[in-house]
């Protein structure tokens, strides 16, 4: 909204067209740095990537147009399809558990308690969120180790068999998901706590007086109220999960085999390892398209489902 100035009043000091002109001029000047930087480092690169995805990039002999070859290659290659599937599967699990557990934690913390206790809870659950995945993944690598791993040590101590957390292709992906949830669920918890505090107390109290069971209060009153935030959380978590990179690179290097390799890893390997720039560009276009589709679908769904 622009500043609304009643014209009769501005007429006293200066002409309103002058004011509009200086307003527009200031607007353009203020937006200029952001616009230039955004054009240089986001918009233009995205467009160039789209163009590159239709070419075979060769700096020596000149690049040539190859149509949909790169995309055809991606969608017919067994390995890249496996990696696409890995990424989608990871995203599905990571989003479900991050958002679900975050919501549970928020409900658990949304009660009266001394302020210092809430401060400590927020500190503990949010700390993993703000420390780089690159750092905590190294720590988790030692926690999830086979023989010298911290977790297996305690499993053996209580008489359970050790688990091949990262060295078995059937469990490796789950281990990555577990670390991801440990790292990110606090973010969603914080968002949900704020949302829960916006639920009108009068309605909740009325339900309590009526003897409505707690789970029904939650489903009928609380959840509809915070549903816009839940949708935001799902979109946000999906965008993040589809880009998963460093936690996997550090924990498993994509292995065993290709069992945990993600699209981001493939992009780096093809683009900067094999210098298949065109192919890597096509993969990143596919990834972006998935993100846009998921965001779009969730927008449509939320319009339909969310109570306004």
């Amino acid at each position: 909204m622009a500043i609304a100035v009643p014209s009769s009043m501005t007429g006293l000091s200066r002409r309103s067209s002058d004011l509009a002109r200086s307003q527009a001029l200031t607007g353009y000047v203020f937006v200029l740095p952001t616009a230039l930087l955004y054009l240089t480092f986001v918009l233009a690169p995205v467009l160039v990537t789209v163009v590159l995805s239709f070419t075979y990039y060769d700096p020596m002999l000149g690049s040539r147009w190859v149509g949909f070859d790169n995309f055809h290659r991606f969608f017919t290659d067994r390995r890249s399809l496996q990696i696409l599937w890995n990424t989608l599967r990871f995203a599905l699990f990571a989003v479900t558990f991050n958002v679900g557990i975050g919501l549970l934690l928020a409900v658990a913390l949304n009660r009266s308690m001394p302020y210092w206790l809430l401060y400590i809870f927020r500190l503990a659950f949010f700390l993993p969120v703000i420390i780089a995945a690159a750092f905590v993944s190294i720590v988790w690598g030692y926690f999830l180790g086979d023989d010298l791993g911290v977790i297996n040590y305690y499993l053996r101590l209580i008489g359970l068999p050790a688990i091949h957390w990262l060295t078995d292709s059937r469990t490796a992906m789950m281990s990555v998901v577990i670390m991801d949830v440990w790292k990110n669920t606090g973010f969603f918890m914080i968002i949900f706590i704020a949302a829960l505090q916006g639920v009108p107390q009068s309605i909740v109290e009325a339900a309590v007086m009526d003897g409505t069971p707690a789970w029904r209060q939650f489903l009928r009153i609380t959840l509809p109220h915070i549903s816009p935030v839940v949708f935001f959380a799902i979109v946000y978590a999906s965008i993040g999960a589809l880009q998963v990179y460093e936690s996997i690179v550090i924990l498993t290097q994509g292995g065993p085999g290709d069992s945990t390799r993600s699209l981001s890893i493939l992009i780096v390997e093809e683009g900067f390892g094999g210098f298949q720039i065109g192919y890597a560009a096509a993969i990143s276009v596919v990834m972006t398209a998935i993100i846009l589709v998921i965001t779009g679908v969730q927008q449509v769904l939320s319009r339909r489902w969310v109570r306004s």
Partner: protein, 283 residues
């Protein structure tokens, strides 16, 4: 009446139980940090010994000295991280606030279209911009320069969006009064809007600093030479050099690497939480 009292008692017990469970979970959340911190003080010979320790056995800084004397130029790398984080944070505070003021308070042709295009940036992953940026940086000689990484993030769609949302929630009466008195828009921004934005500036500043400190994907692709690295990428390198089992030394490096972010969070938790919820709730 008695039934009501009874349920109130039951509620209290359930409350206590839930808080008890949360305390256990919270302890579990910080366990990896306790481990890495106490590991950094373990003598190298004991590094892999089990059981693991979650409290430092003593405070001998030998491992920390080892990091500084290793073949990895740790001090240089640390300074790179500090430089990038400060340049990006200051840059974003300036560019995002200016743009947000324009989008929230000024009227000009193309404003809404421009804002929409800018918001699209929230959905583009780093993966879809990195190849052209890499090729471009290679051309102009910015590969392997920490400053290249800083340049990329001098503005952000998220920052503009967040500051705009905050500005929209602020009353405009003071600004209108100043306009009546003949103040220019630039002056109104500087004298009236900016001081009101202080909490939002702190939140955006802390979020940006943390995010920049933690970049890995971009740094790994754009920075290659040892002296140009940032801390998250260097940690991997350090782990490689120390593959002979010098776990304690890696953890000493890690303790130093996460220190600024942890301190920032402990001191300014309020702003971080506010910033996160502000951006999460209002979109």
């Amino acid at each position: 009446m008695s039934r009501w009292v009874q349920t109130r008692g039951a509620r209290r017990v359930i409350n206590g139980m839930i808080i008890g469970i949360m305390i256990v979970l919270a302890a579990g959340m910080v366990l990896p940090f306790l481990w890495l911190f106490s590991m950094s003080f373990r003598p190298v010979a004991d590094a892999y010994k089990l059981p693991p320790s979650f409290f430092p056995p003593g405070f001998d800084f030998a491992n920390y000295r080892e990091v500084l004397n290793s073949r990895v130029p740790f001090v240089q790398i640390y300074l790179n991280s500090v430089m990038i984080a400060i340049v990006v944070t200051v840059g974003q505070l300036v560019t995002c606030t200016l743009a947000a003021f324009a989008f929230a308070r000024l009227r000009f042709a193309g404003r809404d279209a421009l804002f929409f295009i800018l918001l699209l940036g929230l959905m583009f992953p780093a993966q879809v911009t990195i190849l052209p940026i890499y090729l471009g940086f290679a051309k102009v000689g910015l590969l392997n320069h920490p400053i290249g990484l800083a340049l990329m993030y001098l503005t952000s769609s998220f920052g503009v969006f967040m500051m705009r949302q905050f500005m929209l929630s602020q009353p405009k009466s003071l600004e209108e009064a100043a306009l009546m008195d003949g103040a220019s828009y630039a002056k109104i921004f500087w004298r009236i809007s900016l001081p009101q934005l202080r909490p939002a500036l702190s939140a955006l500043g802390i979020i940006t600093f943390t995010q920049t400190w933690n970049y890995y994907f971009q740094a790994r692709v754009l920075l290659g030479s040892d002296t140009s690295l940032t801390l998250p990428v260097a940690m991997d390198l350090l782990r490689g050099y120390m593959s002979q089992g010098n776990l304690s030394v890696v953890m000493a490096a890690m303790s130093m690497a996460i220190l600024p972010v942890v301190l920032l969070f402990v001191v300014a938790q309020k702003f971080v939480i506010e910033g996160v919820t502000m951006s999460g709730i209002k979109s």
